[in-house]
């Protein structure tokens, strides 16, 4: 187990290291600079130059790269060009919104998808299966931003059940925040739930054909019992991968949804930072997101090992 973890950690860090280089180089070639952006239509190039110096944009490439990476290692992500406050604080505030939103959406999608997948699989070939999977097919096909617009149209405008956007901040109370995150979470969750339920269904079907399920049936377990006691845990293994992928996808993929619902999340921060050429924020957020993906992959691997004893030894 220890060797398994250390091996994964090593690959995790090497991926991250390469990622920082890629991100840094990518940011380097982005045209446009924050100082000029902040001066707008002004004719005053002198002021822009002064601002550039103030922001530390005139240092050499290597110097900036190492400054950035070593800074990040000590938790210092630098100062935002536009906001002029520490990037770490900016990101942290956004995470307080994005992470709960992502978790909320994931919980929703899991809660919907797993029963749907199991039911469809155990009633394969029946009308129930066809209907559920038909709905799932449509769900996969719906772009989440379009779904979000429809939700707004229905719930915020026609029914007025939910406020259409904005985020009151956690100090305003948990339920209020939860309410304001509900529509965004649903619009993020639905297409993911559709995907997940399809994966779950095929995973369950696959498991149901396994020999050990036959062994379980031979013990005298009913099909349902066998599925619950022996099938589910095995069927969840591929689902875990998808869940991991979805978490990282949702964390960053909320850009459009966050914007439609005016939610101050990570996606919007980075989107806005790209536009404003607040590149120090961009590279930090992207690094963070990459780190999140890599970490989640790592956690999913660990979860695999928990679920599947074969992996604990790190054997092939």
């Amino acid at each position: 187990m220890l060797r398994f973890i250390s091996k994964r950690l090593l690959s995790l860090f090497s991926t991250l290291f390469v990622a920082t280089i890629v991100i840094f180089l990518m940011i380097e070639v982005v045209p446009g600079d924050p100082a000029a952006f902040m001066m707008g239509l002004s004719t005053n190039t002198e002021a822009a130059d002064a601002l550039r110096a103030e922001l530390g944009l005139n240092a050499g490439v290597l110097e900036r790269y190492f400054g950035w990476v070593t800074g990040m290692l000590s938790g210092d992500f630098g100062i935002s060009y536009t906001y002029r406050v520490p990037v770490s604080g900016l990101i942290f505030d956004r995470m307080l919104v994005s992470v709960p939103l992502t978790v909320y959406a994931l919980i929703l999608s899991t809660v919907i998808a797993i029963p749907v997948g199991v039911i469809a699989a155990s009633r394969r070939g029946t009308a129930v299966d066809t209907t559920l999977m038909g709905v799932a097919q449509v769900g996969v096909a719906v772009p989440n931003f379009w779904f979000a617009i429809l939700l707004v149209l229905l719930f915020s405008t026609s029914l007025q059940w939910f406020s259409a956007g904005g985020f009151p901040g956690w100090e305003a109370g948990f339920w209020l925040c939860l309410k304001s995150l509900t529509l965004p979470a649903i619009s993020l969750a639905l297409p993911q739930a559709a995907i997940l339920s399809r994966v779950m269904r095929s995973s369950v079907l696959e498991v149901m054909n396994e020999d050990y399920m036959r062994t379980a049936r031979a013990k005298g377990l009913s099909e349902r019992q066998a599925l619950l006691r022996h099938g589910l845990r095995n069927a969840l293994i591929p689902v875990l991968t998808i869940l991991g992928l979805q978490f990282s996808f949702l964390l960053a993929g909320g850009i459009i949804i966050e914007s439609i619902f005016s939610i101050p999340g990570l996606g919007r921060l980075v989107f806005q930072s790209i536009a404003q050429r607040d590149l120090i924020v961009v590279k930090s957020v992207v690094t963070l997101l990459v780190m999140a993906v890599v970490m989640i992959t790592f956690i999913v691997d660990l979860a695999y090992a928990v679920v599947d004893p074969r992996l604990r030894e790190g054997s092939n």
Partner: protein, 532 residues
């Protein structure tokens, strides 16, 4: 009253008939073996008893188990029957256990399903006892062992323990040893036999191999195409059987010896010298898959290479075929050092085990058979190629029309013929037969072996015949090499090895090999003992 009495069982899936009018009975303490080739319906019969049949299956007839007709039972009632009365063991021990649960948990689950009154600790104790009964000692195999830690044979023991822990009256074993090595196979068979006697259960044993069951079965049922051809008690069955098919099966399972003409030339065509091959394991550890192997193959000579799975024979084959680099040593092919260069490849070719995986499913037979022409420096015209392909197909007993078919249109035996034709087409001096008959039903195996023998005589080809099974290579080889853990532990002329094995491992292998003649003799002795 029989324990199990199947009467006039009919089973069809989506309208196509799988079983027709099957009638089989099992008594307490009796071992009944159903023997048949693939597709004979033997496994379906077992599934029908358990009522674990595929979707869309329809059954009629009677399956009497004690006083109940199982076909009348609801699914819930069948669950009870499975819990308490009938246990089952399957063919694939590697996948028959839930990989994410400990063996203990899986056995305990079975225990508690059968007897709800047991406390956790009692169930635990019983599970330990059951594992002990099947030969898995607590000290080496504690309850919290995960299945992946166990070998195939050990896993099969766990499956048996699961079945046994419910104190079944009837045990159904569906090819329980087919996926196992010979030595393990014989152990498992002995275990089953012992348990049946101990617990006074009925055992319905399903196998494709008459020799395997002859030793243990009290009653033999021969099935073919969903019908029972013939059945009878083992002691008299072989004497009294009347059906041709049964006779053929029996003949094929029997080991006969043919005298071989031993006028071999002294030309050495394959010379393996001190071959070594390592595999890197994790870290700095290495596995020596082939350790200092040397042997020579003369023109027209056939050599058998025998060993159980993991002994390194496959690696050796890959090295000889030039598809894997070796660490040290030398392979001389027709006197030249061979390490995969194209010019020498035409002298050596191979036939592999899996008749279904041996051909690109998207190529027609003519393209498949002609593939080795790639080795010929001066390419033949396509008409020349075609006529050559036709010639080869004729050699292996197929027609010229077969050229334009795809491999999936052929049966397993026919496919092996095509594979042989492909191996022959460049007229090589050596053909490596890597378990070439292992996946075939006994009768087909006979035919293929015969074909190989004829080809060897007519074309003067040498074979290197790789097998896990000593009996298969017995008739076709002049010499046998026995391999274990990468080392050739014994080699010599085939007859000598069989009659007078020097190495204990060879001995074990021979002992474990199913041998119908020996089995019947043993059985007779046993009976005699009982009379005394």
């Amino acid at each position: 009253m029989s324990l199990l009495n199947i009467q006039g069982l009919l089973l069809s899936i989506h309208g196509s008939e799988i079983l027709s009018n099957v009638a089989i009975g099992v008594e307490e303490g009796q071992i009944v073996a159903i023997v048949g080739e693939s597709g004979s319906g033997k496994s379906m019969t077992a599934s029908a008893v358990m009522q674990l049949v595929p979707n869309g299956a329809e059954m009629s007839g009677n399956v009497w188990f004690m006083d109940d007709n199982l076909l009348d039972k609801t699914e819930a009632e069948m669950c009870d029957v499975r819990k308490n009365h009938i246990g089952m063991v399957f063919q694939e021990p590697m996948t028959a256990l839930n990989p994410v649960q400990t063996i203990g948990k899986q056995v305990i689950e079975a225990v508690r399903l059968a007897d709800k009154s047991l406390s956790k600790d009692q169930a635990r104790e019983k599970a330990e006892l059951m594992l002990h009964k099947v030969g898995l000692e607590q000290t080496r195999f504690p309850l919290n062992t995960y299945p992946h830690k166990l070998s195939g044979g050990q896993r099969q023991r766990v499956v048996i323990a699961i079945a046994l822990s419910q104190n079944p009256r009837l045990l159904i074993a569906d090819e329980p040893t087919t996926a196992l090595d010979v030595t393990t196979q014989s152990q498992i068979m002995k275990l089953l036999k012992k348990l049946v006697k101990q617990e006074n259960m009925g055992l319905l044993l399903i196998s494709h191999d008459l020799a395997v069951v002859a030793e243990v079965a009290d009653h033999i049922v021969i099935m073919r195409n969903g019908k029972v051809i013939e059945q009878g008690n083992t002691d008299i069955f072989f004497n009294e059987m009347s059906d041709d098919y049964s006779k053929e099966l029996f003949a094929a399972s029997k080991l006969t010896f043919k005298d071989k003409k031993s006028e071999k030339s002294s030309d050495i065509i394959l010379d393996i010298k001190n071959l070594k091959k390592d595999y890197k394991l994790s870290g700095s550890k290495k596995l020596r898959a082939v350790d200092n192997v040397s042997f020579r193959l003369k023109k027209g000579e056939n050599i058998g290479l025998v060993g159980e799975s993991g002994c390194g024979k496959s690696t050796l084959v890959r090295c000889i075929l030039g598809v894997e680099a070796y660490k040290s040593g030398e392979i001389l092919l027709n006197g030249e050092v061979f390490d995969g260069q194209k010019e020498l490849r035409k002298h050596i070719n191979a036939v592999f085990q899996d008749p279904f995986g041996s051909f690109n499913p998207r190529h027609m037979v003519k393209r498949v058979v002609a593939e080795p022409f790639y080795l010929i420096d001066t390419p033949l015209s396509s008409t020349e190629q075609l006529s050559k392909v036709e010639e080869m197909l004729n050699h292996v007993g197929l027609n010229a029309d077969d050229m334009d078919k795809y491999s999936h249109e052929f049966s397993g035996g026919q496919r092996q013929r095509i594979a042989i034709a492909r191996a022959l087409i460049t007229e090589p001096s050596v053909i490596v037969l890597d378990e070439a008959t292992s996946a075939l039903d006994v009768l087909i195996r006979e035919q293929i072996l015969e074909l190989l023998e004829n080809l060897s005589e007519n074309l003067g080809i040498s074979y290197l015949f790789i097998s896990h099974d000593l009996t298969t290579v017995r008739n076709i080889t002049d010499r046998v090499l026995v391999m274990k853990d990468g080392i050739i532990v014994e080699q010599g002329p085939t007859n000598e090895i069989y009659n007078n094995p020097q190495h204990p491992y060879t001995n074990t292998l021979l002992e474990a090999s199913p041998d119908i003649t020996k089995a019947l003799n043993d059985k007779r002795n046993e009976l005699d003992d009982n009379f005394v």
